[in-house]
Every structure is written in C-alpha cells, then in structure tokens.
C-alpha cells in the first residue's frame, strides 16, 4: 500500500539525514521525499511517499516519531487529503509539434514557461498520476528532460498538522 506521511520537524541541520538514514538503515521503501521550512522558520514540513504492508507502515511511523527532531506526524492516507506535485518538462517542439504540445499543455492545465525556436518547457502541477498521464500523452521521443519535485500533501477539511 502507498502511504503519504507528513512530518513536522525541527528545522535543524541533519534532520533530513536522520529521516533518510532511518529509511535506508531499516530497509524501508521511499518513493519521494520533499522538505521545506514552514511559516515558522524553526519548523520544517516533510512529505514522504512510501509503500509497505500495514505492519511496516506502523513501524515506519513509530520509528519516525522516535526521532528526537520529529515534532509531529500524520499518515495523510488515513483520511481525505490532497496531494500535489510540480513537474517541469522540456520538450522538443518544432513544426506541427509546437501546436500539438501547446494544446496538450492546455488540456492538462499546464503552462509553457520557457520557449525557444525548437523547445517548450511546460510547468504542470497535480497529483502524481496526472503528471504521469501528461508524460504518456506527449511523444516519448520529444522529451528532453523531466524534473519532478515529489509529492507534497495536506489533509482536507479541519484536520491539520500544527503545533
């Protein structure tokens, strides 16, 4: 099962490596990991996408909670939540492809953020599967570069991860 674990942690040097080290030392899977400071500069918010059985996920959350720098965490997948990922994709765009890519970007509500005579760079946000769908929709041969941020997530409604 895929889980999205959201962590509020002390914004200390080394905090990220404690989390990454925990995953490698205990052999847990890590699909993506994003981290950045919050409105309170002493706190960072991290989103980890991981997979594992219920027992493994339970251990992962317990072991993460044990890290001294971790203030709070929730498993977003336990409730309604929104996940978003940002992708920037650079595509070869010449001749008729230029219009086709423009149309495709519009359909996916992407934006062209950089243009040259032969390339487009498209910015796209959404859940991971939407980004996957866009990659699938464009001609594979035209992709020059894909940059994805990894998933960030937030719970729907009143539920929130704060102090």
């Amino acid at each position: 099962m895929r889980h999205i674990i959201s962590i509020l942690m002390e914004n200390e040097s080394g905090a990220l490596s404690r989390v990454a080290g925990l995953f490698s030392a205990r052999g847990y899977n890590i699909e993506s990991l994003t981290v950045a400071p919050t409105e309170d500069p002493s706190l960072s918010r991290m989103t980890i996408v991981t997979t594992g059985s219920e027992e493994i996920i339970e251990q992962i959350t317990k072991q993460l909670n044990k890290l001294i720098d971790v203030v709070k965490l929730i498993d977003l997948s336990e409730g309604e939540h929104i996940e978003r990922e940002l992708m920037m994709i650079k595509l070869k765009a010449v001749g008729p492809d230029r219009d086709e890519i423009k149309r495709l970007a519009d359909i996916f509500r992407g934006r062209i953020i950089d243009v040259t005579a032969s390339t487009y760079t498209v910015e796209l946000t959404g859940p991971g599967d939407k980004l996957n769908a866009f990659i699938k929709a464009v001609d594979g041969g035209s992709i020059m570069e894909v940059v994805r941020t990894g998933v960030s997530g937030i719970a729907r409604g009143e539920r929130s991860l704060g102090l």
């Binding site: 002390e10 080394g14 080290g21 030392a25 251990q59 317990k62 909670n65 044990k66 001294i68 720098d69």
Partner: protein, 586 residues
C-alpha cells in the same frame, strides 16, 4: 520550545565568564557527574586544560577509546546514572563507535563528548577530521554538533536529558575545537531545566489498557511472565517481584533482565531463549497468557516467530511504542514506564483483591515442575577437566552471590547467565544486543569505580579478553581490584560450537593459537596471575583471589575444550525444539 536568546560574546550580565572548555567542565560538575572516561587528543586539548587542576570530576584515562565507552557503560548499568565519555576527533570518535553501538542496543544512558576540528575547517578533510555526527547517527538516541559556544550549556543539558529519560540511550555531542577556545569567554549559568517540544516520552500507561491487561491476566489458566532489561532500566524490580508473587505465576528473564526477579526464587524458571532453560522455553510455548514487561522480543529470545507462544494472548508493557508489535503482534499493548505501569496494576489487584484460578494454576505448576525435573543444565561433574559451568557455580558459592559480574561475549557469557543466580538488578552486566567482545574488563572498571568496596568480577574467555586486554594498565593506574575469571578453552567457544553443529566440525579460524601466558601478562601489568588446571583447585583459587581485596587477580582457568552450551535452540527454530545435550532433541 526554548527560545534561545543570544548573549553578546563579550558582554556581561551572567554570573561568571567562562571559556567553552570551562563551561563544559563546570556543566559536568553542576550536572553531578562523578567520572569522565576518556582519552586526550588535539581537538579536546582545551577541554583537558580546563579539567586540569580540579578534582571534582574524576577523569579516568583508558588505554583505548572503546574501553572508555564500555567503562562508562558499565558504570551506568551498575548505578543507573548516565555514563560520560570524552574523546578526541577522528580516530578517537571512531574507536568509541563500538561502545556507543553497544550502549544503544541495550538502551544505556550515556553522553559521549567528541572533539571536532575547528568549525572553519569542517569539511576540508582536516587532520583527524571525521563526520562524527554522521558516523554515529544510526547508533545513538540523538546527537548534536555544537556550532556556537552560546549553545554549549543548553546542548549539554539536552544531551543528558535525552540520554536518561524515556527509553535511555547514548547521545553524542560533537564539539569543534574553536568552541572551547580559552580566549572566547561568555557568561555561564547552569540550565536547570530543559524542555523540548519534539521529545516527550510517555510515562503513565493508559488506564483502559491496564484494565484490559488485568482482566486478561486474571482469566489465565497457564500464565507466564517474560521480563527484560526494561525492568532493570526503569528500577522496577521490586514492583515486578511483587506482581509476580501476587499472581503466583512463573517468570522468566531475558539475558538483559536477569536479577530483576530473584534468581533463587522458586517462581523463577531461569533465562529463556536460545540458551534458556527447558522449563522457561516450554512454559513460553505452552502458556495461555503472556505478560511481557520491558522486553523487546529479540530474535535470540523468540526463535521462530510463527511458533512463538502459539497459544497465548500477549500483553506487552514498554516505554518505546516502536518496540510494540515490531516482530510479534501483541493483544494488549501498554506504552509507559514499566515501574509506573506495574504500580498501577498492583494497585488495582490489591483493590479488587483478585486472584488467579487456583486449581488451574496448581495444574500449570505441576506441568512446569515436570519440565524442571529434566535438569536441563546438568553437566558432567566427574570430569577430570575443569568444566566452565563448574567455575561459575564455584564463583557463586565463594561470593555467596554478592558480586557485580560483568561478562564478555560467547559461551562463558551464557554459562554465567545460566549458572550464576542474580537476586538483585544491576549486578549482571553484559553486552546483550550487540554482543560486543571486549566489553567485560572495561565495564568492570566502571563498576568498580562506582562501588570501590564491592566485589567485582569479569567472566571472560581467552578470545574476548584479548580484545581490550590493554585495560589491565588502566586497572593498575586506578587500583581497581577486579577479579578476571578467564574460561580458557583455547577456542572461540561459541564459534567452535556452531561449527561443530552446523559446519560438520570444520573449525575455521576458531582455534586460538599462540596465546599469551596470561599469568605472566597479568604480572607484567603489575597484577596477580593464577593458572588453574584441575577442578579440585578451582574453589581454592577463587577464595584466594577474593581474599586479595586490593589486587586485580587474573584467574586463568584451563577448561574443557569441547564443552558446549545447552540447552540450545537453533536459530529459526521454535521454543519446543531444544537440544538438551549431545544434540538430542527434547
């Protein structure tokens, strides 16, 4: 959260102005630290200079940093206080890692101060530079790199707080050399309290869970108590004993938990697990309710997980939520400090005046007595060779059990755990989780320093002892009258045993050739050495050694080379699949 306010580097307003090195030393005094186990080097010279000329903090100079950590560890295990280590950067820190990992696996409170190269050169591959925070990260409870002398006192306070609370463990504080610069002086006040928003260990068990546990226990027909090192760490031996007696249930201790319940009591079934007693393992296999207290279901205890306590409902009390249902799924988890939870349980039992079903309990004990009658620890007492078990039995007799016994790792460790009866906690000091050879002697130094008037012995083997043999020199310097009980079978005994069983007697590299003359070696260090070759001389030698109250005595017992530790459960087998002797299946 503590809002740290920045004091000007050269301001006034505090009580006294001290350098970083002096702050460290003053902090240790204020924290009530008695001993620092350490070894100087370039990055900690400012600190050593601050230590000079004071005698409140006693610095114990070891001969290798690994020994500093084991000695601090032994001190911590015997006293319950936090052990303190001071080593230099680079090799000082890496040498300490084995001891840090040893303490981590057994949840021992320890603060390890490592020197570091000055802040401006960190990352430049400077002389004796190593990423100590990075290297120790997986084997510490937490670690810190101090980047500003104004954070030093608060960081040290946090280190002691984290190390000694919740599930204890080692904490490393890495201090760059410029932080302890004698020229930079700032006001110092001892931080009396500490608060960390991200660290709040749960102490009190949930009352609903406690009630569920009691209901389950009271309905048991074949109850069993399995307790571990957590009981010792929590100081809950008294509560555990009271609860066990009140329930009338059988109890077993893990290797780490020995002494938490009196080893001479009839309700005690001995140690469980790979080399546990027949009665303890069979009772685990057949029980219907298991109360696990401060134990972590280690693989050496559980054997094959699918066959672990197959008919039991399991209650698990532990301060670490991550220990619960990690390997064995439990029915009633209780997160909390073992002592507090046991007190709550006892209160309820007293109030309800509840008892277990007497008839069922009687029947259960009859079954247990049958298992006990197997006499699973029997060995050949008529042998002309010294049997290692015999030495431990005599050690127990001669000291009447009034002994702090440290151990190294291997057969001798198992024999000691099986044959020495520990009636009190903190008397049996060994590396359980990591299984660190070389632990015994330095640990005994830490214990002897804590209790100069008590009898301290280290049971070891000729392989283990050589891993920290240089500490004979430290023991001389500080006049530590440890008795070293060397069970010398000229083999790495446990390796040899496994090779006999599982590798068709191909004794690959397990024979210890070219052993030193331990008697002469002990004498060379200024100690007393004895070699004992006949069973008839064992008791006399031990008596003589313990009569030499102010001398370290190295007793080199030449033991039977082929003796094995029984019972034995092969790795991956169930509790009911024990070899009792000569590979006969029970």
């Amino acid at each position: 959260m503590i809002r740290r306010f920045r004091l000007p580097l050269t301001g006034s307003g505090g009580n006294v102005e001290l350098s970083g090195g002096e702050i460290l030393v003053q902090f240790l005094k204020d924290e009530g630290v008695e001993f620092v186990f350490g070894y100087p080097g370039g990055a900690v010279l400012h600190i050593y200079d601050a230590l000079y000329g004071q005698d409140e903090i006693k610095h114990i100079l070891v001969r290798h940093e690994q020994a500093a950590t084991h000695a601090a560890d032994g001190y911590a295990r015997a006293t319950g206080k936090t052990g303190v280590v001071l080593v230099t950067s680079g090799p000082g820190a890496t040498n300490a890692v084995t001891g840090i990992a040893t303490a981590y696996m057994d949840s021992i409170p320890m603060v390890v101060i490592t020197g570091q190269v000055p802040l401006p050169v960190i990352g430049s591959d400077a002389f004796q530079e190593v990423d100590s925070v990075g290297i120790t990260r997986p084997c510490v409870k937490h670690n810190f790199l101090v980047k500003d002398v104004r954070d030093l006192a608060e960081t040290l306070k946090k280190a002691f707080y984290v190390a000694s609370t919740g599930r204890p463990g080692p904490v490393v504080v890495d201090i760059p050399k410029d932080i302890t610069d004698p020229k930079v002086r700032i006001p110092y006040t001892y931080p009396k309290t500490v608060a960390m928003r991200s660290y709040n260990p749960v102490v009190k068990g949930h009352p609903v869970q406690i009630k569920r546990a009691i209901d389950l226990l009271l309905g048991a027909r074949r109850p069993m108590i399995y307790s571990g090192g957590g009981v010792v760490l929590s100081g809950a031996a008294e509560e555990l004993t009271a609860l066990t007696r009140r329930l009338g249930a059988p109890i077993t201790n893990t290797l780490m938990g020995l002494g938490a319940y009196p080893g001479t009591d009839s309700q005690f079934l001995g140690m469980l697990g790979m080399h546990g007693t027949y009665e303890a393992n069979m009772a685990m296999h057949e029980c219907d309710v298991l109360l696990a207290v401060g134990a972590r279901f280690d693989d050496r205890v559980t054997g094959k997980l699918e066959q672990f306590c197959p008919t039991a409902k399991i209650i698990h009390i532990d301060i670490d939520p991550a220990s619960i249902s990690k390997t064995v799924k439990v029915d009633v988890p209780i997160v909390g400090d073992v002592k507090t939870v046991l007190q709550d349980m006892l209160k309820i039992l007293e109030k309800e005046d509840a008892r277990l079903d007497e008839v069922a309990l009687k029947k259960w004990w009859e079954q247990i007595e049958q298992w006990r009658a197997t006499d699973c620890l029997a060995y050949d007492r008529d042998s002309e060779l010294i049997k290692p078990q015999f030495v431990i039995e005599k050690l127990y007799e001669v000291t009447r059990g009034d002994l702090y016994l440290t151990s190294d790792v291997g057969q001798h460790q198992m024999f000691a755990a099986q044959f020495f009866k520990f009636d009190q906690p903190r008397r049996w000091i060994n590396s359980g989780g990591l299984g660190t050879m070389g632990f015994g002697l330095p640990a005994a130094m830490g214990v002897q320093l804590a209790y100069p008037d008590q009898k301290v012995a280290c049971v070891t083997g000729e392989a283990s002892i050589q891993m920290c043999i240089q500490e004979l020199s430290t023991a001389m310097q500080y006049h530590l009258p440890i008795k070293i009980v060397n069970l010398n079978n000229r083999y790495m005994g446990m390796v040899r045993q496994w090779q006999e069983f599982f590798y068709e007697k191909r004794y690959s590299m397990s024979y210890m050739d070219a052993l030193p003359d331990f008697v002469k070696l002990a004498e060379a260090y200024g100690h007393v050495g004895m070699r004992i070759e006949k069973p008839a001389d064992v008791e006399g030698a031990l008596r003589e050694a313990f009569e030499l109250k102010d001398r370290l005595v190295f007793l080199d017992f030449i033991t039977d080379q082929t003796e094995n530790v029984y019972p034995m459960i092969e790795a991956g087998k169930g509790h009911h699949e024990m070899h009792l002797s000569n590979r006969e299946l029970a």
